[in-house]
């Protein structure tokens, strides 16, 4: 394999992917115990997409996420402790416990929010990208959305707007094969296997990549982001990937072929593929990978313990922050 990334960069990217995996797998376990409020949608299996894109971004670049947003938050640099506390509905959460899993946002990090509305992100990032363009500061906007959201009018309208206004915007489609439970076979017939072909029709570069291959995502995103930073307009990247859990926690997943996830975990796991590639190329030692795994495990464990014992929001938080002034 060939890569421009240094050992330090590779380990940083791996650490982010491991943080996502560990965080999500742990939320899965904790949720099953019945101690977490609300409902959660987990990102395990799709790590290479969020990290492959966000490794190119800085805090000035904006992303918008989906209901399956934990991975994007972590990849964009949101602190794990705050996120875990938020999912527990605690005062110490990223949003003070008032948003929960589906609304984690950290604007200082350029993370404009997970979002409970499918297809809400593209217009918002069109606006963020417009702000970037008007400020001429070289920043970009990236919207993550799924194969389900790819059918929303907001997405089509935003592709047209991004091309029309020549926005520094990247559309990252996470095609995980299921719009909730419905396959793109039934929901996105585009006359092609690739939903990205639609984007080409809007007049922007569009590629389809193996979303479980960090390096494929990283390379495609790098090219798109560099073009956008230089005023070259929007790009569409379709990442074919797979989620390891249900649409939501508690989903019996009766719509999935038997062993689909088991086989994917064994043969197509983005973390394993990354680790195998970089160790067999001699770029990173296996011991370094193991050390990251251990550290992240401890970090997530500490985040859960802190969240469990953190205080609930004060009752006056109910009425706070509806407006700046009213």
């Amino acid at each position: 394999m060939k890569t421009q990334l240094s050992k330090e960069d590779l380990l940083k990217a791996y650490r982010k992917m491991r943080e996502i995996r560990e965080f999500e797998d742990r939320v899965h376990v904790e949720f099953a115990k019945g101690t977490l409020p609300g409902f959660v949608h987990l990102y395990s299996g799709e790590e290479a997409v969020a990290v492959g894109v966000c490794e190119h971004l800085n805090d000035k670049d904006r992303i918008a996420s989906t209901h399956r947003g934990h991975g994007h938050c972590i990849a964009k640099g949101v602190e794990l402790e705050g996120m875990m506390a938020e999912i527990y509905g605690k005062k110490t959460g990223t949003c003070g416990g008032k948003g929960g899993s589906m609304h984690i946002a950290d604007l200082d990090k350029g993370m404009m929010g997970a979002n409970g509305i499918v297809g809400a992100g593209p217009p918002l990032i069109a606006g963020a990208s417009l702000a970037s363009k008007l400020r001429k500061d070289g920043s970009v906007g990236v919207v993550f959305f799924g194969d389900g959201a790819s059918n929303q009018g907001t997405n089509f309208e935003s592709m047209n707007l991004a091309v029309t206004l020549d926005l520094p915007m990247i559309f990252v489609l996470e095609n995980n094969g299921y719009a909730e439970s419905t396959s793109p076979k039934y929901s996105a017939k585009v006359g092609s296997e690739n939903i990205a072909d639609r984007a080409r029709g809007f007049g922007m570069p569009a590629v389809t990549v193996d979303g479980n291959d960090f390096f494929a995502v990283y390379e495609a995103a790098g090219e798109a982001i560099e073009r956008a930073r230089k005023g070259g307009g929007p790009t569409f990247i379709e990442c074919k990937t797979m989620r390891y859990f249900g649409h939501f926690e508690g989903d019996a997943q009766t719509y999935r072929p038997k062993d689909e996830v088991k086989n994917a975990r064994a043969n197509n796991c983005p973390l394993k593929r990354f680790a195998d590639a970089v160790t067999s190329a001699g770029l990173v030692e296996a011991a370094d990978i193991e050390a990251v795994d251990k550290e992240v495990l401890a970090q997530v464990d500490a985040a859960v313990k802190a969240a469990e014992t953190a205080p609930q929001p004060d009752l006056d938080a109910l009425m706070n922050d509806v407006y700046v002034s009213y």
Partner: protein, 335 residues
């Protein structure tokens, strides 16, 4: 105030021009706001479908941005840009079109600050037309502001005259919360005294148009004129009316309404929209709950009937509240 009276739509234009001069982060997004700025001869040809933004594009060519007819995308983009440090003014041509883009206000802009733990600031303003009276029928005549006012996190502003329009729009653009600014199309040509310089009118302060001891009339937008006409007629019979124009319905200036009803003991609310779950029923409900003891008669609502806006001129005239209907409602409270 040496200059001549100017029109309501020019007051709105002036507010936007002054805000854009004062603050480089103010941008305008919408359909035809420049008017096909793509070619030289087309530049500024329209300036909005009724010319409200005319003249702004030549002054601020980078910041007056024509968009496709994609309300979800550009209203959402106005919201997104505003959450990233801009002060976007989005123009939703007719408020009737909110159905195609409401999520961007209702679930996005309105909720960011609360959901994100108080860290988001989204100073977006959406300007949009309301009002019947032009045989524009059921999809271009509505006044659906109560649907926006029903959403915590949004502010709803409804000017009734040129002076208020300029000051309230300036205040809306400068405000750090998402504002929806409703412009009654029948008022666009209304003339009034408007200072040339920049000024703002605080959001949430009602205007007491006139004071009278017998009845409190609360009226919005175009209905203020009708209320004034009715009050003149009633005054000849010795019935003296207070007229309150709330100017914003979220926030609502309850204190001004309550203290007036405490003096008059009678309330008539006039709204071009509907009584069911609307501004009129809301004001009657709040007054009944909070100053019930002051009431000498049942509060009255003068609203459109609960039907879509009809096309035929005679039906539309019957649909709209007018001075006669207001007069009858006032007399009913005096029985």
């Amino acid at each position: 105030m040496a200059r001549k009276k100017i029109m309501f739509k020019d007051a709105i234009n002036e507010a936007m021009r002054l805000e854009m001069e004062r603050d480089e982060s103010v941008i305008i997004l919408g359909l035809d706001v420049a008017g096909s700025a793509g070619t030289e001869q087309e530049r500024d040809s329209w300036g909005g479908v009724l010319g409200v933004t005319k003249g702004l594009y030549p002054l601020f060519p980078d910041r007056v941005i024509d968009t496709p007819i994609s309300e979800s995308a550009y209203v959402g983009a106005a919201v997104g840009a505003s959450a990233c440090g801009m002060r976007a003014v989005g123009e939703l041509m007719f408020s009737d079109f909110m159905g195609v883009c409401f999520d961007q206000l209702y679930n996005q802009a309105a909720k960011f600050r609360y959901m994100f733990g108080g860290k988001a600031v989204t100073p977006v303003t959406i300007r949009t037309m309301i009002g019947a009276g032009f045989s524009a029928a059921a999809q271009h005549s509505q006044s659906p502001y109560s649907m926006f006012a029903h959403v915590p996190g949004l502010k709803s502003i409804i000017p009734s005259n040129p002076y208020d329009a300029k000051g309230l729009l300036a205040a809306s653009i400068e405000d750090d919360d998402p504002c929806v600014f409703f412009e009654h199309k029948a008022l666009y040509t209304m003339k009034g005294d408007v200072p040339e310089e920049h000024y703002t009118i605080p959001l949430g302060e009602a205007n007491v148009v006139q004071e009278g001891k017998d009845v409190t009339i609360v009226a919005l937008a175009r209905m203020v004129q009708f209320a004034e006409k009715a009050a003149k007629k009633l005054a000849k019979d010795g019935i003296e009316c207070t007229i309150i124009d709330p100017r914003t319905i979220s926030p609502m200036d309850w204190n001004t309404i309550y203290s007036s009803v405490e003096k008059t003991g009678r309330l008539v609310v006039v709204d071009e929209s509907y009584d069911l779950c609307g501004v009129a029923s809301d004001i009657c409900g709040h007054v009944s709950q909070n100053v019930f003891g002051a009431l000498k008669a049942a509060p009255q609502m003068v609203t459109a009937p609960f039907t879509p806006t009809p096309f035929a001129a005679n039906l539309e005239a019957a649909y709209l509240p007018d001075a006669k209907k207001i007069e009858a409602a006032v007399r009913k409270t005096m029985e």
